[in-house]
Symmetry: C2
Subunit: 200 residues, 2 copies
C-alpha cells in the first residue's frame, strides 16, 4: 500500500502528471526507493478505478494531469491521522528462515545465521556510508537522512537479533532442536507412510 498511498498524498497537494509524481515521490523519500515509471500509471489507474483520483485533462505539452477526488482526500487524511495497519507479527523472511533452519534436521542453523548476519552487516556498512556522504542541506535533507536512519536502525536490529540468535543457539545442548515431521498429529488416523527423513 505504500506506493498507492504515497501517490495519493502527493496528489493532495495539487494535480500532477505521471512523471511528475514519480519525481516527487523519489525526491521526498531520498532517492533510496526507485520507482519504475510503469508502476505510476498502473497505480493511477487503480486509484481511478476506486474513485480516489480522476483524469484532469492534458496541458499544451500533452501532460496528462490527475486530480484527487473528495474520497481521495478523505483517504489521505485517514492515512495520515491513523497509524499504519500492521499485523502484530509481520512476516520476515529471514526470521522464518532461521526458525526453519533451526528445526530442520538437515540444516546447519549456525551457518545460516552467520551467512545472514554477514549480509546484514554488509548492508549496514553501505547504508552508513550513504548516510555519511549525505548532504543534509536543502529542504529535502532532513527527510532524506531520516529515511536512511530508518534503514540503518532496521538493519542494526536485524544484525543484533542474528547475533543474539547465534548465541542462544550455541548455548543450546547438542543442537537438540531438529524436529522430525510430526506424524502423530492427524486426529483421525495416522498416515500409512511414516515421515521418512530424507535429506541428510
Amino acid at each position: 500500500m505504500s506506493v498507492r498511498q504515497s501517490l495519493l498524498a502527493i496528489l493532495a497537494q495539487g494535480p500532477c502528471y505521471g512523471y511528475q509524481l514519480r519525481h516527487e515521490f523519489v525526491r521526498r523519500t531520498g532517492s533510496v526507493w526507485p520507482l519504475n515509471v510503469g508502476q505510476i500509471y498502473n497505480t493511477l489507474e487503480r486509484l481511478e478505478r476506486d474513485g480516489l483520483v480522476r483524469r484532469d485533462g492534458a496541458d499544451a505539452q500533452g501532460h496528462v494531469y490527475w486530480e484527487i477526488t473528495s474520497p481521495g482526500l478523505a483517504e489521505v487524511d485517514l492515512w495520515l491521522s491513523r497509524a499504519v495497519e500492521r499485523t502484530l507479527a509481520p512476516r520476515d523472511e529471514v526470521a522464518i528462515k532461521i526458525a526453519l533452519a533451526a528445526t530442520l534436521p538437515g540444516a546447519d542453523a549456525a551457518a545460516v545465521i552467520d551467512e545472514e548476519r554477514a549480509a546484514a552487516e554488509g548492508r549496514l556498512a553501505e547504508l552508513r556510508m550513504m548516510r555519511a556522504s549525505r548532504d543534509e542541506a536543502g529542504p529535502e535533507g532532513l527527510a532524506h537522512s531520516l529515511v536512511l536512519d530508518s534503514l540503518i536502525f532496521s538493519a542494526e536490529a536485524e544484525s543484533q537479533w542474528l547475533e543474539h540468535a547465534r548465541t542462544r543457539l550455541g548455548e543450546h545442548p547438542d543442537h537438540g532442536l531438529a524436529l522430525a515431521l510430526d506424524v502423530d498429529r492427524p486426529k483421525r488416523g495416522r498416515p500409512a507412510r511414516a515421515g521418512s527423513a530424507a535429506l541428510v
Copy 2:
C-alpha cells in the same frame, strides 16, 4: 517468497500432505504466523508448475501427498546456503509515510510520528507479554522464542527510530521542510498549470 520456500524446505524432510504442511510450518515458526490453508494448496500448485514438487499419490485416508523433486532439493540447499536476497533499502510503509508527512505542507509530521510511535510501543508491549509467557521447554521452544525476539528487536528499532525522528524534527527550524510541487522540473518546458497548493 517466505511461504513458498518454507513449504519446500519442510518437504525436503519427506512427503507431506497439505494440512500437514501447514501444521509443520506453524509449529516450527512459533504459531505467530498463521497460514490460511488455502494458501498451502495454492503454493503447492505453483511449486508443481515450477517442477520443484510433484504429487505423490494418496494414502488410505485420502491424504494427498506431495514430494520434493531434485530441482526442489537444490532450491532448498540454495536457500539455506545463501543469504536471502534483500534490496539495500526495503520499502517500509511507516518510513515512507513519515518522509512524505515531513515534506507535505498540509501534514503535521510530528503528530504522525507520535501516532506511529504509540502504535509501535503497543505492539512491543504485546510482544513482550507473549515472550514472557512463552514456554521455552520442548524442542520447539528455542525456535519460538527466537521468532518472538526477532519481532521484538524489529519493533524496538522502529520505536527508537521514531523517537529519533521526532527529536530531529523538533530541532528543525520552523518545520521548514514542507515542499511544494517541483514545478520547474520538466526539462523540456514548464506545464501551463502551475503547481497549485491545494489542501491547507
